[in-house]
């Protein structure tokens, strides 16, 4: 009834090619952004920012990156943790070597460094596919983590290999370190994630995205119609690693503030982000948000419900939480193998017909 496109005519190419063609969708997104940018910063506190919103946003960024590679270009990667580590250590080195540099530039440069590393490790994708590629990227994961743990130069030769973020300001607001206000940290991360999501959405709709999807759907056919696999695959690796590198930089600078490479960027991070992409929906920008939301927020929600409301002991709640998460993941994948984004799409189709489905 409310969600209906009848009467909305598109009279220009511009309107026809808009990201949100339906008016209600546009209102919804404007409303969501207004809440996220205006209302949330007014009410956000330390707990909400540091424990819930920041991890959600930084993992969304990582999931966006991996979704480009896995969902749009069909190249499976298990190196996400390693690439995030590249981003984090690049930010650390840049911040300590050039204290005057703006944090946004630091993060973008970290993304570029990671993109270069990603292209390097993406080279095998030209010869190997599928599971074999997964194994090759797994090597990236282990190699990179080992490298940052082993070579003292990366952590400025401190005693423990743990890196700590120095305090930095952006436009006169302190954004890193413990004294930064939660609202500033949140807004900074949110702006970056929204901007990057917009870029991703437009890239995947355009020539480059279509090239990736052609490779994903059938690489030989794509090659025959003139898509160059070298360009397509390596650009996907570069784009994807750029996003993942920025996510790694954000984890280090804004979210955690101090990281230890083996713990913060281990193989379990790679799997976590891959699960986000699969559960959220392969080949969907919205899916990256939903997947990250599900895997970051659900455990915290379950924990708070069980410990704070039901008064369960912390350890019992943890065991139940681990079990429940597993059950929920299986359940979602059985109900909708194409992920949460597909569920949303189905809901929208149903809404268009509601309340007269026939």
């Amino acid at each position: 009834m409310l969600y209906r496109e009848a009467g909305q005519f598109k009279t220009s190419y511009e309107a026809d090619q808009a990201i949100f063609t339906i008016r209600q969708d546009r209102w919804l997104i404007v409303l969501a952004l207004a809440v996220a940018f205006v209302i949330v910063p007014l009410v956000v506190n330390d707990y909400w920012a540091n424990a819930i919103l920041l991890p959600f946003l930084v993992y969304t960024m990582a999931a966006l990156g991996l979704n480009i590679l896995v969902g749009y270009c069909g190249q499976i990667s298990l190196g996400t943790g390693g690439f995030m580590a590249v981003g984090a250590f690049a930010s650390f080195k840049l911040m300590t070597a050039f204290p005057e540099m703006n944090l946004i530039i630091v993060l973008l440069l970290s993304g570029c460094v990671t993109a270069a590393v990603g292209v390097l490790f993406g080279l095998p994708s030209l010869r190997i596919k599928g599971f074999y590629l997964a194994v090759a990227t797994l090597a990236a994961q282990f190699f990179l983590v080992w490298l940052f743990n082993k070579i003292g130069w990366f952590y400025n030769y401190n005693a423990t290999g743990q890196i700590t973020v120095p305090p930095r300001e952006v436009f006169g607001f302190l954004v890193t370190g413990p004294m930064a206000s939660p609202a500033v940290k949140y807004l900074f991360t949110l702006s970056l994630v929204v901007a990057f999501a917009m870029v991703a959405k437009n890239v995947v709709r355009g020539r480059i995205g279509r090239m990736w999807m052609a490779i994903r759907d059938m690489d030989i056919a794509a090659e025959l119609i003139g898509v160059r696999p070298l360009h397509a695959k390596l650009s996907a690796f570069a784009f994807s690693s750029f996003y993942i590198g920025v996510a790694g930089g954000l984890i280090f600078t804004i979210y955690l503030g101090a990281v230890e490479v083996t713990e913060a960027f281990g193989i379990d991070r790679s799997f976590l982000v891959l699960f986000m992409v699969i559960i959220g929906g392969l080949g969907s920008i919205l899916g990256s948000f939903l997947g990250a939301g599900f895997l970051v927020l659900m455990p915290i929600l379950l924990k708070n419900v069980m410990v704070d409301w039901m008064g369960m002991a912390a350890v019992t709640a943890k065991h139940v939480e681990i079990t429940l998460m597993g059950v929920l993941i299986i359940l979602f994948l059985i109900v909708e193998p194409h992920g949460l984004a597909r569920l949303w799409q189905i809901a929208k189709e149903k809404l268009r017909l509601w309340p007269f489905p026939y």
């Binding site: 401190n158 005693a159 290999g161 370190g177 503030g257 230890e260 913060a264 915290i300 912390a314 943890k318």
Partner: protein, 439 residues
């Protein structure tokens, strides 16, 4: 419809009730306990958490709390994971009327995470014998305490012990000492100290990292078999310890030349190796066992009433006792804070002052029922490490008991002092901190 209403009412009640019960009542001392009863390090995390929980239960049951103010212990499960540790910190720091009084992160990774955060929130961090060693410099780290001793002090104690066994420090020249360490911030802590001691005494240091979680050590011990170091030091945690002791036994490495850090010296670590672990050594700053008056009180007031956190049979294990000693020093610091500020409604910043003025001497230990349990400590503004003394304990596989076998060694401050100074200065520079004056 009736059923729906009923369930709604129940749901509302179940949500509202706990809130109602916690908001009412007298002032309570909220102490968060970041525990890990799950995950790869749980076998070591559980006894420690039980020791902490039982000590506060004892205070509440026997004395009605600290100076009559009840302790509200809030456990939060971290699974030894930094991200979950951050969530726990943010979740518990404002808990209760008092707010969190002191944090014991119980993981080096989480400690590094909390050092800047807690300092900004004005909550002290008590990382007892772990975490960042250079936090011993109270001028740079006013909110962090790592008494009674640090990893660096412990490393120098091991070197002294080895010197004593070899017949003098000059005999160390040309000896080979291997360090098998957890390849993380925790495991890397002693390297620098051991390196500068190596320069001074002329022994050769062999570094053998083991990656998390440490189940795979075949290659490491093959290397030890090949290089034949005279002594092996172990800096492990969790399952890594048991594997190391078993592997050492399987290559027949002499156990009396094998020394573990104080986190590698509990019953869990040596029992799986059976008889072969006999004679294995580890660092310690408190005694094992349950033959102290305090433990009898724990049995009487906690376990006999069915309020124990764990298994009665495991009271007095090494890590259980470590939990007890951590809780004891925290409680004494809160007591000191109450005295200094003349109020029973202490806050985080008061407890920091209490920690900094903490003095637990022999007489006080005897009063607490812990005579001979640990050594007296006194904390000052500059020195947050305290005395830094460490003894060695030996595992007796037949009696299934740990026993302290050496004196309490003083650390070699000539080695650790400059290193602490250097590392804390680097931290102060990185984080724009001006060291405070302590006069």
């Amino acid at each position: 419809m009736e059923f729906k209403k009923l369930t709604m009412a129940l749901a509302v009640a179940s949500v509202a009730l706990p809130i109602a019960t916690t908001s009412a009542g007298a002032y309570e001392l909220t102490i968060p306990s970041l525990v890990y009863r799950t995950g790869p390090y749980a076998p070591n995390g559980i006894p420690f958490a039980n020791g902490v929980a039982d000590y506060y239960t004892l205070l509440n049951e026997r004395d009605g709390g600290i100076e009559g103010v009840r302790v509200n212990l809030v456990e939060c499960e971290t699974a030894y994971n930094t991200q979950q540790g951050v969530e726990c910190y943010e979740n518990t720091k404002g808990a209760g009327e008092s707010g969190a009084l002191v944090f014991q992160p119980l993981s080096t990774g989480i400690t590094y995470q909390l050092i800047p955060k807690a300092s900004a929130d004005k909550i002290p961090v008590f990382s007892m014998g772990y975490g960042r060693t250079s936090a011993a410099n109270g001028k740079v780290f006013p909110w962090v305490f790592n008494f009674p001793a640090t990893y660096w002090s412990q490393a120098t104690v091991f070197i002294q012990y080895i010197g004593d066994q070899e017949g003098g420090m000059d005999k160390l020249k040309g000896k080979k000492i291997a360090l098998v360490y957890h390849n993380s911030a925790y495991g890397k802590e002693p390297i620098r100290t051991l390196e500068s001691a190596a320069e001074k005494y002329g022994y050769q240091l062999i570094l053998l990292p083991v990656d998390h979680p440490g189940q795979e050590q075949k290659a490491t011990w093959l290397q030890i078999r090949r290089d034949r170091p005279d002594w092996v030091l172990l800096w492990g945690w969790g399952v890594m310890n048991q594997v190391a002791v078993k592997e050492a036994a399987s290559i027949r490495y002499p156990m009396d030349k094998f020394i573990g850090v104080w986190w590698s010296g509990s019953e869990n670590d040596v029992l799986p190796a059976g008889e072969a672990a006999d004679g294995y050594l580890s660092g310690a700053f408190h005694a094992p066992g349950d033959d102290f008056p305090l433990h009898q009180d724990i049995y009487k007031h906690v376990y006999d009433k069915g309020k124990g956190a764990g298994d009665r049979g495991r009271v007095g294990e090494v890590l259980y006792n470590r939990g007890v000693v951590a809780a004891m020093w925290t409680a004494e610091a809160i007591r000191t804070a109450m005295k200094i500020h003349g109020t029973k409604q202490v806050r985080g910043e008061h407890v920091r002052d209490g920690l900094e003025a903490l003095k637990v001497d022999e007489a006080r230990l005897a009063e607490l029922g812990l005579k001979g349990f640990t050594y007296p400590i006194e904390i000052t503004c500059e020195n947050h490490e305290g005395p830094g003394k460490v003894a060695l304990q030996r595992w007796d596989a037949k009696a299934k008991q740990w026993k302290i076998v050496s004196k309490f060694y003083e650390p070699l401050r000539s080695i650790t002092g400059p290193l602490i100074e250097e590392d804390s200065a680097a931290y102060a520079k990185e984080s724009n901190i001006t060291p405070r004056s302590c006069n």
